[in-house]
Symmetry: C2
Subunit: 229 residues, 2 copies
């Protein structure tokens, strides 16, 4: 018999689809931070009952992108400068760890996948699709986590990613200008293919530094504005 690996078929519960829909709406900024989610309205729009919707919302609360207050409602989390700073500093540590764990496991498949994801970022950049650009950039960055062969680390990264994606989307949306066209990931990819692990770790740290500095400045500006108003 030919050796063939079937991947598990998709979860076909309404709940799973609702989770995907809501997550996407939140991460792309269609649902804004602080906004309340009205169960009845959403369930009618989606043509489902409130039961699977509520279960889906419970999942997203635990995922950290919704917050719930009993008898008051469920809300999209607020983006504070502190949150971004916290996520940022932790990300630095995790990145270093992920690169270390991944380093010995790199193989041709890793390099191919790296190129594939890098290409996806470049394509989104050319298409000026900022939402997709954020998505693909995070996916490129996430490869070292998927390859590190540490399920707990991967979970942690994915939780962080949700928030980061939300922050970046908000940022892009606010400044509303095309993203730099040059390829900022060129060096990152090259170093991950190279032989100097320390250099890769150092660059990863500095690279996310740049992205975050902008984000932080934006978030701080946001808070100043809202505290004035």
């Amino acid at each position: 018999m030919a050796k063939l690996d079937f991947s598990p078929i998709a979860d076909t519960t309404r709940r799973a689809e609702i989770v995907a829909l809501l997550r996407r709406a939140i991460l792309t900024g269609q649902l804004e931070p602080g906004q309340k989610l009205n169960e009845l309205r959403i369930s009618e729009q989606m043509r489902v009952s409130r039961a699977p919707l509520r279960e889906a919302m419970r999942e997203l609360v635990q995922e950290g992108i919704l917050t719930s207050i009993p008898y008051a409602g469920t809300f999209v989390i607020d983006v504070t400068a502190k949150d971004i700073d916290d996520a940022y500093s932790l990300n630095k540590v995790l990145d270093e760890f992920a690169i270390e764990r991944t380093w010995k496991l790199r193989d041709q498949r890793f390099f191919d996948e790296l190129d594939r994801r890098h290409e996806a970022v470049k394509q989104a950049t050319r298409a000026l699709d900022t939402t997709r650009q954020i998505e693909t950039a995070l996916q490129l960055h996430g490869l070292i986590y998927e390859w590190a062969d540490n399920s707990v680390l991967l979970e942690t990264w994915q939780r962080l990613t949700s928030r980061l994606q939300m922050y970046f989307a908000l940022h892009q949306r606010a400044r509303n200008e095309p993203v730099p066209a040059e390829d900022v990931h060129e060096t990152y990819v090259r170093l991950l293919k190279g032989a100097d692990m320390r250099a890769a770790q150092r660059h990863a740290r500095e690279h996310i530094d740049l992205d975050f500095e902008e984000l932080l400045a934006y978030a701080r500006g946001l808070e100043q504005r809202t505290s004035k108003g």
Copy 2:
């Protein structure tokens, strides 16, 4: 007016209580790894309907101590040696980071709390209450995370803790012998009070090493047994 900080009142939804009950049952090992949770049976035992129970289970799935397969059921996660190893290696990194972040923020309240939690461990040890000993030891260890002033880090640690507590409980339960009576945390506490941050980080790393080595050996033994049977 006198300055008085009121803590938020308890969440009085059935869901929240169910979450607490189930979590405790899982972390203390009353619900064993791999075991299936029958919704109807549990809801009847708790005298609640399946709706809040299912929502509670969704939360625990996201928390990482339950796993769900559509139309098949929800199960307590299995404890593999790899999981423990993953959690262990990540914990080392997080510990170092937490100590670094906490270091500058230590004050008298920190030291007092450290002593309080240390005392709680010693008391549980004297009382030969292994479940409580695990709980208090993890709480002692968690102080640096609470003090690090990084909400994302704290969340991550708490997720890890759930699993660790489960693993340790299982371990204790299996070997079923009183825990060492000597105070293994003495040095840890002393170093956290001292002036040498590097030394504290080094010790934290070596300290959890000891605990985990035992745990890993146990888990590997478990897997050998089950793969034979």
